[in-house]
Symmetry: C2
Subunit: 329 residues, 2 copies
């Protein structure tokens, strides 16, 4: 979730703000922070904000906003192999709106209950536009943590589920599509009700060498793994997992571009040493989550795209942008 | 921080969202939540949002916004007797603004370092108005926790420092006052750079019967203690601790009204059994924080104001409102 260049701004001004604490195991810069709270396991913590007209359309169903505000954070913890436990909710609304709140809380509640998360705190304030900031806490054993760094040349690159669906759903929504059934309905559901890959993330702990959740787009997020690990990668675009709905409604080239650069899928992208590939496939099968090998980690920096014949392709310009409202910075 | 009736809205829609977790010791409804993270101590967590033109003037110094965004959360933990440890920052900005961010981070950093808080996570998003949401975590021994409930008839009511200063400072700021020196400067500093009472809060653990921090105004916040405890109180308005600066710049009646209904002072209001009063005064002296007995807890519900002769007074109408922008809901 980085329209304002979160990585640069936050790092520039805040990355060294440790106040001398030795219990900070992982600070700003991965999917979630890790601290040693003295319980034997690490405490994982992340925060993500969804703002109306930036991260969700103003006419998005309130239930979807409630679901998604929690889901994006669950996805961050999944990418660290952490089990979510407690959430805090900071809600900004232009005015008290019981109908919207009822829908929002229903969406939030259903996902919280199914993922075992208690809402323990909140703050409601007035502001010009709806905005939802969720802080999520969780727990993870120190030896199971997934990080962005850790990918090594030769590791296979995987992605869960299918990618590009949420970005396709956003295009459909912006074009006025509201069907709940069929391929349109499937892509809109992927936009509004993403499924955080908690079980898969937990299963990847101690098995994957690096992981991230796909929020900004597969190429961008894999790029974070590569940069953090000091490596490069080659992706075979014909291996990108595309849903039947996406292939039905979009030409193949466009579907692949959406898969590479579209955001908001909240799948997991991760790297696995060849020696762990059998265990990975068994673990994914136990979770009931499809995983697809899409490429390989290489020593040379950068992300290379190749077709089925090994021919180099150029990554389409203009990565994922969050739902735009007014001029982009 | 409750312009939107946080208490009613959040409770109506979210209070029972426990997902069956037995490790939630205190959920929504006190100054901070408490969970059992398995470390022997409880984990305390709170979140507060400051929105431009609602909680701070658009022309407030960026340093002050950074300071205050953390201070209001430190104050919540102080009111639970918790030691702050880790913070997450969700920042919404209309555009990337390095100068503002430099000031904001300097203010945030200085207070974080002096209070031993590490910034472990963040999210930066674009939105129509600056908004800062800080989640703060801390730790507290289970037998030292301060809650809002627990006040008993006969307990003495205390407040730390002086009250009314921040509300007076807001009036001065809105009237265009920008002096940094003298009485004006002192009141503006109380508005922009509140001092969370962390040492006093920690010292009150196991000693005070109930506590809250003064964010919405002394009468309103004491009212939360009384409601949570099922009791009432009598306050002697001549005992309200007023700063020399407040008395110098405002008539006595107005100063007292500000002290009762003005918000944003971030002092602690707490109740102490008579048997603990000597220990309390010793603890406060060790902290170097003035505390003033302002009244007594009584059985009959409601808050009664009396003058020095014991004559009843009427609480001024129109409690504290956050810095207004546009029509209030």
């Amino acid at each position: 979730m980085a329209p304002l260049s979160e990585f640069e701004l936050i790092r520039q001004f805040f990355s060294t703000l440790s106040a001398g604490r030795s219990d900070v195991v992982e600070g700003v810069g991965d999917d979630a922070a890790l601290v040693d709270a003295g319980s034997g396991e690490l405490l994982a913590a992340c925060v993500d904000t969804l703002t109306e007209d930036v991260h969700f359309p103003a006419d998005a169903p309130a239930e979807a906003v409630g679901h998604k505000a929690l889901a994006v954070n669950l996805s961050d913890l999944a990418a660290m192999a952490a089990r979510p436990t407690w959430a805090l909710l900071a809600l900004t609304l232009p005015q008290p709106d019981s109908a919207w709140l009822a829908g929002f809380s229903a969406g939030f509640r259903a996902l919280a209950e199914s993922s075992g998360v208690a809402l323990i705190g909140g703050d409601t304030t007035r502001g010009p536009r709806r905005s939802v900031s969720v802080t999520l806490l969780g727990r993870v054993a120190a030896d199971k943590v997934l990080r962005r760094r850790g990918a090594r040349p030769g590791d296979r690159i995987f992605v869960s589920g299918t990618v590009g669906d949420a970005a396709a759903g956003l295009r459909l929504w912006q074009a006025g599509e509201r069907h709940r059934a069929g391929a349109v309905g499937e892509l809109l559901a992927r936009l509004h009700y993403p499924t955080p890959r908690l079980a898969l993330g937990a299963a990847l702990g101690g098995l994957a060498s690096a992981a991230i959740d796909v929020s900004d787009g597969l190429a961008a997020d894999l790029g974070h793994i590569l940069a953090a690990s000091g490596v490069g990668a080659r992706i075979e675009i014909e291996r990108l997992p595309l849903s039947a709905a996406l292939r039905q409604l979009f030409p193949l080239a466009e579907a692949r571009q959406l898969a590479l650069t579209g955001g908001d899928d909240y799948e997991l992208c991760f790297t696995v040493p060849p020696s762990q590939e059998v265990r990975l496939r068994q673990a994914a099968a136990r979770c009931g989550t499809a995983v697809t090998a899409i490429g390989v980690v290489e020593e040379a920096a950068g992300l290379r795209l190749v077709d089925g014949a090994g021919q180099a392709l150029v990554l389409p310009q203009g990565g994922y942008q969050h739902f735009p409202a007014g001029p982009q910075p």
